[in-house]
């Protein structure tokens, strides 16, 4: 395929009277890691939910084409079966469901051990653990990433994948993101962490529901570091350099 994997044009999403995504355009190509940066409330997670088709996240306008298919009319699991998936910032916990079962969803003969090893978890210790509150936040994040790896998706949307991960383990997360690309997939990487965003092939900055700056990750990170953004001078998005 020569065209974009994901092509978003003029996407709008509102909640009540509030516009959350405002005429948003974004393109992601095959085997591309694209970092999306933005201050809190800029619309990053909303974009992830709209793309995945979460309940109540139906766009009010625009189009989203994924691998040549219009995503908007499709149900969430239909989008997943096309090769799109999402790793939540705060992953859900499942009482009674083992890590082995969680990683083997819909794949009866799947061997989950390699995916667990890739996220730095020992299969012997973790395969029979439950994906419930007995896992720490960091462990749960890694299991979520292993679950994404197990899908071998065409496009993985990772919402703050390194949240709750200790500094020493961030390299694991970076390796996983690269592994997704090495397997032929693309990644939409939503993050605040510059060291994570820096591994992307391209990046965008989101402000007040619109992409305000795109390009090389170093330039976008530098722009994001700035006290103001080009669209609102910081007054709307509230972004202030720490």
């Amino acid at each position: 395929m020569n065209g974009p994997l994901l092509d978003i044009r003029n996407l709008n999403f509102s909640a009540g009277n509030q516009t959350i995504l405002d005429r948003l355009d974004l393109t992601i190509h095959p085997r591309e890691i694209h970092a999306l940066l933005g201050a809190n409330g800029s619309g990053k997670t909303t974009l992830a939910y709209v793309l995945m088709g979460c309940e109540s996240y139906v766009p009010s306008g625009g189009c989203v084409v994924f691998n040549g298919t219009d995503l908007v009319p499709l149900k969430m699991y239909e989008r997943a079966r096309l090769g799109l998936t999402l790793a939540w910032q705060e992953p859900a916990r499942f009482e009674g469901v083992t890590v082995r079962e969680y990683l083997s969803l819909g794949k009866p003969n799947y061997d989950p051990e390699p995916a667990l090893r890739q996220v730095g978890l020992d299969p012997e210790r973790y395969l029979n653990r439950r994906v419930d509150k007995t896992l720490s936040g960091g462990e749960r994040h890694r299991v979520e990433l292993a679950s994404v790896l197990s899908m071998n998706p065409k496009l993985a949307i990772l919402d703050e994948p390194a949240a709750g991960i200790d500094m020493l383990s961030i390299n694991h997360i970076i390796d996983i993101i690269r592994a997704l690309k090495a397997a032929g997939g693309s990644v939409l990487l939503i993050t605040h962490q510059e060291e994570v965003a820096a591994i992307a092939d391209s990046a965008s900055q989101l402000c007040n529901g619109r992409i305000v700056f795109s390009g090389d990750p170093d330039r976008v990170i530098e722009h994001f570091r700035g006290r103001t953004c080009v669209r609102c001078d910081g007054e709307v998005c509230g972004y202030v350099r720490p």
Binding site: M52, C54, E55, K75, M76, Y77, A80, R81, T85, L86, W88, P91, A92, R93, F94, E95, G96, V97, E101, L105, G106, S147, M151
Partner: protein, 311 residues
């Protein structure tokens, strides 16, 4: 087919094998209606059970200091569509003894029948009893199932119970357990129920923490579909210094089912503590969407979440 065969052939539905009845290392009792069809004891276990016209009545004693290695299987049920079964049993676990009882309640073809159990369980100081009760019911419903028990847990003793009704339609289920825990004793009660059609579930469990540092947990997982309904009452009282209790109830409601949860916590000592949590509603949206984002259909996702909760 004999009544014994009719009951034992469904043992796999509650996780047991008919071959346990032939194993001389394993104690068992099999009762159909008010008749005892098979029984065996093992060293250290006194099994004094008899038939009467209107009940199976008896006493089971695990002698002091004895550890019964293999689970004791108690298979009760009805092999016919109609009938009645009353069981009155005393269980005594003497000081420092340990045993595990697997109670299989089997009603594969029942349509209009009754099963009543009245148990008194006395666990001596330092003793331990694990009591697992698994029910298997056919698809018809129409039963009255009424298990009531009074359990006394001695100093430093432990009691773990696990009630499960996961197959078929029961009709009316009315559970009433009262557990009293002495100093350093532990009581953990778990109930897992999947109710269908017009099933009516009443589950009342009370843990009274009488002794210092006694501990209690009531954990209930109920899934309802069709027009089933449930009322879950979990009571924990703490009367002594250092007593700790927790009530944890989760009910998932599908279709036109209805559910209520009533956690009651009472504390009568300033250094005791009891907590509770209850959640009633449909399947958690985030869990559902997470599984759908991995390609499961809504039906597959609900099935996985429900089976996990009831595991």
């Amino acid at each position: 087919m004999s009544d014994l065969e009719a009951l034992t052939r469904v043992l796999p539905m509650v996780g047991a094998e008919p071959a346990i009845l032939d194993d001389e290392r394993i104690a068992h009792v099999v009762g159909q209606g008010h008749r005892i069809l098979s029984r065996r004891s093992v060293p250290g276990l006194d099994l004094d059970i008899e038939e009467t016209p209107d009940a199976i009545v008896g006493k089971m004693t695990i002698r002091a200091g004895v550890v019964i290695e293999q689970p004791i299987h108690m298979c009760f049920g009805l092999a016919h569509p109609t009938g009645s079964q009353n069981i009155r049993i005393d269980v005594v676990v003497e000081e420092r003894a340990t045993a595990r009882v697997l109670s299989h309640c089997l009603f594969p073809v029942a349509q209009s029948a009754q099963h009543r159990m009245q148990a008194a369980i006395d666990i001596g100081p330092g003793a331990s009893l694990t009591y697992s009760e698994g029910h298997y019911h056919g698809p018809h419903g129409g039963m009255q199932v009424v298990p009531h028990a009074s359990i006394k847990i001695g100093k430093g003793a432990r009691y773990f119970s696990d009630f499960s009704l996961l197959s078929g339609s029961v009709g009316n289920l009315d559970i009433d357990y009262l557990v009293e825990v002495e100093e350093d004793g532990i009581a953990e009660l778990t109930a897992k129920i999947f109710a269908h059609r017009t099933d009516r579930i009443t589950l009342k469990e009370a843990v009274i923490l009488r002794g210092e540092r006694s501990r209690g947990l009531i954990k209930t997982r109920v899934v309802l579909d069709g027009e089933a309904s449930a009322e879950i009452v979990g009571i924990t009282e703490a009367h002594a210094k250092g007593a700790r209790g927790h009530v944890d109830c989760m009910e998932i409601v599908q279709g036109r089912a209805q559910a209520s949860a009533i956690p009651i916590v009472r504390v009568f000592h300033p250094e005791a503590k009891v907590t509770h949590e209850a959640a009633i509603g449909s399947v958690d949206r985030k869990e559902l969407e997470t599984l759908m984002a991995r390609g499961l259909s809504p039906e597959q996702a609900v099935e996985m979440i429900v089976s996990g909760i009831l595991r």
